[in-house]
Amino acid sequence: MKLIKKILRTIKSDRLLLAGCIGICILLFIVVAAPLITEYDAKLFGPDALVAPGDPAHPLGTNHLGQDIWSMLIYGTRTSLMVAVVASFISALLGIIIGGIAGFFGGWADRIISELINVFLMIPTLFLVLLIVAMFGSSILNIMIVIGLTSWPSNAKLMRAQALSLRERTFVKSAQAMGENRRQILMKYIIPNGVFPVVANTTVGMANAILLEASLSFLGLGDPTVISWGQMVYDGKQYLTSAWWIAAFGGVAICLTLLIFYMTGDGLNHVLNPKHGKAGE
């Protein structure tokens, strides 16, 4: 109970974090309550195609197949958040393990892994993702895994820096003196204590994952069996002159969701290192 109060107070202390957290709650509500706040199934091909926004039955209009835009936006939230959570979970897990090993063990392992991290940060991720998805098929599962597997380097870099400084701390040294082995120390002390910057970074990672999935869909590499905002923009491109709303609303949804994640991430960074927040922003 005390912990919850403390967390709530921290959230309230930072405007960006508060706004971001409220936004995430709204997104989660939309994910859960999707059938309640929509009138149509997003995959239903209705009889009225290309209805303009403002129509009493379809407030945001319909697309070329008669699908209700509002329903598509709402159900698209599920896809985007699923991509965000799964991809960034894989990426965080890989980053924590690889970065933790590099920073804690040091020496050759660190030199090789650091160079690898720098190299991977340099390579354009979009192209790699695109290539793999084109080769292995564009099911949503593939897309999520590939995004996760290609976005770990920034997490690894953060975790490595944490591990480097933590291993010099007294409590780690004393654990060493007590005879705990290196794997135990890594799992019990280094990773739990160094994980916070990675968590803050994960919110940005989620935003990037959503953007990447949308970009893939826009290039025609999306999963055609799911409703996705990027797919909506892709579909709307053909009808840009006659039915602007198909492409427009999908993009607005992406934009708002990214804003929520960025605000949460920046807020978390402010709260985690208050000094940094003053100079930046």
Binding site: P124, L130, L131, I132, M135, G137, G251, A279
Partner: protein, 320 residues
Amino acid sequence: MTKYVIKRLFSGLITIFLVFVINFILIHIAPGDPVSVMMGKDNNDPELRAALMAKYGLDQPLYVQFYRQLTTTIRGDLGDSYIYSRPVVDMIAEKIGPTLLLVFPSALIALIIGAAMGILSARHEGSVIDVIFSGLTYILNAMPSFWLGLMLIILFATRLNLLPSSGMIDVRAGYTGFRYILDVLRHLALPLGTLVLINIPYYYRIAKSSVLQVTNEEFITTFRATGMSERKIFNKYVFKNAILPVVTVFGITMAFLISGVTLIETVFAWPGTGRLTLTAINQRDYTVLMGMYLVVSVMVALTMIVVDIVYALLDPRIRY
């Protein structure tokens, strides 16, 4: 300095080598055997199959294949596109001009505008300008580039009918000389504008935070205490120190730009490498895709190296 340059070149080479290795691994673990990956789907020409087998030594052990493929790649042979039966290198070389025309100017313009906005914000921290700029860049940062491009088309091409929405030249007009350049510039306006808008936030952020950081340094306070004018302090000391991090961001943004431009080229039907990539995706032309991946990585690595060297020239601390 020489040692620093060699070190940077070496890590650039590692990057490119790694991309090559990724390509090699992908070919071998992709569904189907490497030959069918390179030949494309529904192609069963036994003659082509035999030629490819011989060229890359695909009946040999893996390390021989790796060596063969590496040497052919170093010689500048990225294989042939199975759709067009043409060398991938030639296809990319043809299309790279328009892409670079889009990438470099937009990066430069974004740098100038973004840095100027950031410096202005930092000098008047908390003012109306600062709040507006910060809010604007925050929202811009969250916009998907391809969507912003489409919205600009709706606004400037469809509604206002001011600018062309696609292509690089007006094919029907057939302009020459100065009119031709003017025509290209008109077509360039929207894609270039989109890229500039998308890239401004990065420069804005870094310029603003580094100016603020330098302003809070002790030596600046000392100058203030001695009564030096604010303008002189800024021009002589703050600006020089604050602009350096902006240069580094230029390298990093370049990496995003060179691959991200694919999306923008798709939106505006710009006849560059992005179009090539898109066609290759649709036809599952893997040799072209892998060639593009390699070329893009080389370009990114080169830009990074150049930026790092420029940075080291500007700031001697880096070299040591």
